[in-house]
Amino acid sequence: MRLEAEERDDAALLRAVARGDEEALAALYDRHAGWLTVRLTRRCAMPDLVDHAIQDTFLAVWRKAGSYRGGADVAGFIWGIGIRRLIDLIRRENGPRPLLWRAEPEAVVSAEEQVLVGIEHGRLGQALARLSPELRGAIEATVLDGLTCAEAAVLLGVAEGTVKSRCHRARQALRAALAADQAGSESPALRREAWGTS
């Protein structure tokens, strides 16, 4: 119940921002900038770039709040703007490729996480974990972040063709891993997501 109330509040804040209420923008920032910072940092390890992306994102929200149609939730709306701002900045930066994947798969996996992976994704999750980082990166950019191949290419710092071929190989690998074991505890929704929209 409380979660739904918060969601309504977000939409109300966005409407206030569209009317030019600066306090509402600040309130929206206070609610969303934190998690956005963390999530963007996972895509780009340069903190300056992430800071600029955060500022640009909320500036875009300030200008485009009127275009929010209430379809996706507000957090998703903000994420969509945020990841594209980050890509814009990376594209303009054009310098040394930003580092990705601060995650260390060799780190000790806690018991909770193992259980989580098992319940949550079943074989799919293990297959994902076994993918090489580049393939996983391509899948994550196109599927989880919902980017086009061109945008994903900027984010990953490779050519667009490379992104396409990596996605293709990743899907092949996942298909093979799933086909190798027919046990079906993976959720159908996630499987649809893994195959992507194209």
Partner: protein, 296 residues
Amino acid sequence: MTSPVVPCAGGPSGVELLASYAAGTVEPAVVWSVEAHLPGCARCRCALSGHVDQQRLVRNRSVLLVRAAIGDEGPVRRLICRFGVHDHLLRLLAATPSLRRSWLLSIVGVLAAVVGEAAAVRYGWIPSGRPGGLAGYSDPEVLAPFLLVAPLIVLAGVAAAFLPVFDPAYRLAVAAPFSGVTLLLVRTVSALAAALVPVVGAAFVLPGPGWLPAALLLPSLALSAFALAAATVMSPRAAAVAAGVAWVLPALLLATAHVPLLIVQRPAQVACAAVLCASFLVLLARHDRFELGWKR
């Protein structure tokens, strides 16, 4: 409503999970779960905020609010910036008096009055005591007020760019390292453009010869350049007055001699071109005088 698949921040394992996610030490598949969960759970989002450096958040917040207050990145601005104009030069224009709406409105008002009066006389709405228009050509005297006023309007716009009296924060501009010449150039060019548009537009509307709009360009430019060049030799105010007088006197003389159009016809155009070139040369040679405020 089904319970969320990932342990929410409400439970102890959820808190640890978020901490690991923030630190970047979770399995990639778990990352997916967390990130898919975030848009739907405000409590987890809030808990995640706690893992970000608060000073960094505060700093970004204040910069954001300042940028929102300044109002940068409008669509017009981005378009102009694509042509290579630096963003900070555009922002300087915000301080130019001759680009303010009030200034432009008064220009339009003056022009409307002059053009309106000319049209009224030409079309006989006001009795003028003279015979009606010549074939294909209005009575040139009707144009006299416009010819007097139009280049002066352009001159006024340019004068507002370099006269200290039009810049309330003039002393700040003097004490600042920003190049006075660049500042002047930016303001002058934009003032010229802003003033020429309504003037040339009014010339189109005016009941006069078809070549009138084009004929106004050279005198306006020459007058402005003359004022700027004179400002390197004498005080800015004197320079602006001298330029104004240099136009008003001949215009009035020719008007009383009943041949006001002479001031924009071929011989006068040649003279204006000469003045323009001479002023350019003087400006090139003495442009460093435009370091604001410094006399020697």
